[in-house]
């Protein structure tokens, strides 16, 4: 017997129990008795935790007033954060000069918006602006000494401002430097390869704290008398080099994941090494490394708090020193929650951006 279909079967929608909210819940939350129990327990635990956190941070919290005596409610005393907000944001940057930092933020924000978003297709000018103009402008703005701007010592920089300076400089330096190191590590020239491997392995083999100590305490001992770099610059160099070594390994992973055929196809078309790298290999390698690159960035962002040990007052250390103020003793909880929230906002933002970018760059060749 032969079955012959004379008509094509039409495409039907899937059964309703498989789709929508109900289908999702059935599959993910209530698929078996054990899952039902787990769902209920987890739901109860998170409700308890969240509701007490919300009442502590918002409902029972104190926002009004100027001193700790104004904190009469049972929740958090945000008055502490409010009164010290300027210091938390800018450190000891002179109050009448703080607009310069804000202008710098705006310049960076404009650049980031055009480079990272989808608004303009051709990224040439935004990139020149962000990587060429903005660093110079920010240096002039923040440090002063030009155009009648009063010079502000880096020792006065602090708070979130300092954290952002540390993080963004090390991020902007470590990515290109990491790429160069990764290419060097895979180079066919033995000397280049040895230098890169040596650098990467040495830096990865020591803790960041050691690097920072070296940069701030040891380095001046080796330099000739009278030559002295700014403490912040030393920390920046240390952090950037440290991050580059990690970035190099991340990028190397991406490079190794690109099939050999891509390089062969590029070569067979007559592209040179740098053209092949720049147009074919690196765009793909960096794309697949986005999660790891952002992971490194996030780690780096949080590692900036370690500058505390060489006496720089970043966001965490300035809040910490605020809690030892006798006017505000016992405010550590509020302080640390606030710091955690600020870090979370930045790190979560980076994470979401990387997911968006991955989806945008997805061209259907990977399933």
């Amino acid at each position: 017997m032969a079955i012959v279909k004379t008509e094509r079967h039409p495409d039907l929608p899937p059964p309703t129990s498989q789709t929508g909210v109900i289908g999702w819940m059935r599959e993910n939350l209530f698929s078996s008795p054990l899952n039902i129990v787990l769902t209920l327990v987890a739901g109860y635990v998170s409700w308890v935790a969240l509701s007490s956190l919300i009442s502590y941070a918002f409902i029972d919290a104190n926002f009004a007033g100027t001193t700790r005596e104004d904190c009469t409610g049972s929740g958090a005393c945000w008055v502490f954060i409010k009164m010290r907000f300027g210091q938390i944001m800018y450190g000891f940057y002179p109050e009448e000069e703080r607009w310069r930092v804000d202008v710098g933020y705006v310049l960076v924000a404009i650049g980031l918006f055009f480079v990272l978003s989808d608004v303009v297709k051709d990224k040439k000018w935004p990139a020149i602006y962000l990587f060429g103009f903005v660093p110079v402008a920010c240096y002039i703005l923040f440090s002063g000494g030009y155009f009648g701007l009063e010079h502000v010592e880096t020792a006065q920089w602090g708070g979130l401002f300092l954290t952002l300076v540390l993080a963004s400089v090390s991020i902007f330096v470590s990515l290109p430097l990491g790429i160069v190191l990764a290419l060097g590590r895979r180079s066919s020239m033995p000397v280049v390869r040895m230098i890169c491997v040596g650098f990467i392995e040495f830096v990865r083999g020591v803790p960041l704290i050691t690097v920072l100590f070296m940069a701030s305490v040891m380095l001046p001992l080796f330099l000739p008398e009278g030559v002295n770099f700014d403490k912040l610059v030393r920390a920046l160099v240390g952090m950037s080099l440290f991050a580059s070594a990690y970035m190099a390994e991340v990028v190397r992973g991406g490079l190794q994941a690109i099939p050999k055929g891509q390089m062969e196809a590029a070569k067979s078309l007559g592209l040179g090494y740098w053209q092949a790298m720049g147009f074919i290999i690196l765009p793909q390698a960096l794309k697949i490394s986005i999660p790891s690159i952002v992971n490194t960035f996030i780690g780096l962002f949080k590692d900036t708090t370690l500058v505390l040990i060489i006496g720089l007052l970043d966001l965490l250390s300035i809040v910490k020193s605020g809690t030892t103020d006798k006017e505000w003793i016992g405010m550590a909880q509020e302080g640390y929650i606030f710091v955690a929230a600020v870090f979370f906002v930045f790190c979560f933002g980076m994470s979401r951006y990387s997911i968006w970018l991955e989806n945008k760059l997805h061209t259907g060749h990977k399933r």
Binding site: P259, G261, Q262, E264, A265, A266, K267, S268, L269, G270, L271, G272, Q275, F279, I280, P283, Q284, K287, L361, T363, G364, H365, K366
Partner: protein, 257 residues
């Protein structure tokens, strides 16, 4: 060396000349004393059992593999370690790979225009017009704005052929261009290659498609264990193979066909 001297006299009619070429992978002797002269406009099919060095040989012609002994002269230029000469040869020699090797992050059109723009310094407009011309020739102009991952295997391979043609190569190398394709897509790629052959392109094609060899090739080369065992025009090669190894190979593949 007298061979080389003779070809110099023969002049422009020789496209590729390989003289006494040897290659090793570590201790393994992959290619042994390869001698081959390809005239301009000649279509050559290279066949042989897997691991016989067919791909390695044609990959030596554009220096994707390095030979250790002997000479390879492409278009009058001898392949040495001189990077400039290697680049010069690669501009004139197109290559189509078994696994297409399209650039997955670029659209089909950009795949085709990248090398002309950056290697040949062709203006973008002109490169795009050329690319569209060749995409039409391989019958997929409507896919120009898609990414390679959105095309079928046969379409991808045709894009790869178009991409090579955009560089206006004088010689085309095909490295098992249909081996990675589903059976129903093989003919569309072969048709493209046949039409290319009919236009007089110098072609060296490693393939197991004996039908293609019979219709198109001027000469069939049989390789086994790193050596060229036999070469003959297709009619003679298939009707009257000389060596035992060739006979065995032909009986094995034609049995399945």
């Amino acid at each position: 060396m007298s061979d080389a001297a003779m070809t110099k006299q023969a002049g422009m009619d020789v496209a590729i000349q390989i003289i006494g070429m040897h290659k090793w992978y570590g201790d393994f002797h992959v290619l042994k004393d390869i001698n081959l002269t390809v005239e301009r406009g000649e279509r050559i099919v290279v066949c042989g059992p897997s691991g016989s060095g067919k791909s390695t040989m044609i990959r030596c012609i554009n220096r994707l593999e390095e030979h250790q002994q002997g000479q390879i002269i492409v278009d009058g230029i001898e392949l040495t370690n001189d990077v400039k000469k290697i680049d010069e040869i690669r501009r004139e020699v197109g290559m189509v790979f078994q696994h297409f090797n399209l650039f997955p992050h670029l659209t089909v059109l950009k795949n085709c225009t990248l090398a002309p723009i950056w290697v040949r310094k062709t203006p973008k407009k002109e490169a795009e017009a050329t690319a569209m011309k060749f995409l039409e020739r391989v019958k997929i102009p409507e896919q120009a704005m898609k990414y390679p991952g959105q095309l079928s295997g046969g379409q991808q391979q045709r894009v790869a052929i178009a991409r090579s043609l955009c560089m206006n190569p004088r010689i085309m190398l095909f490295d098992e261009p249909t081996s990675a394709l589903d059976p129903e897509m093989i003919s569309e790629v072969l048709d493209t290659m046949i039409s290319l052959a009919e236009e007089g392109m110098t072609m060296i094609c490693v393939t197991h498609e004996m039908g293609f060899a019979k219709t198109v090739a001027d000469r069939v080369i049989f390789m086994d264990a790193g050596e060229i065992i036999e070469q003959a025009p297709p009619a003679e090669f298939f009707e009257n193979p000389q060596s035992d190894r060739t006979k065995l190979f032909l009986s094995q593949i034609l049995h399945n066909a």
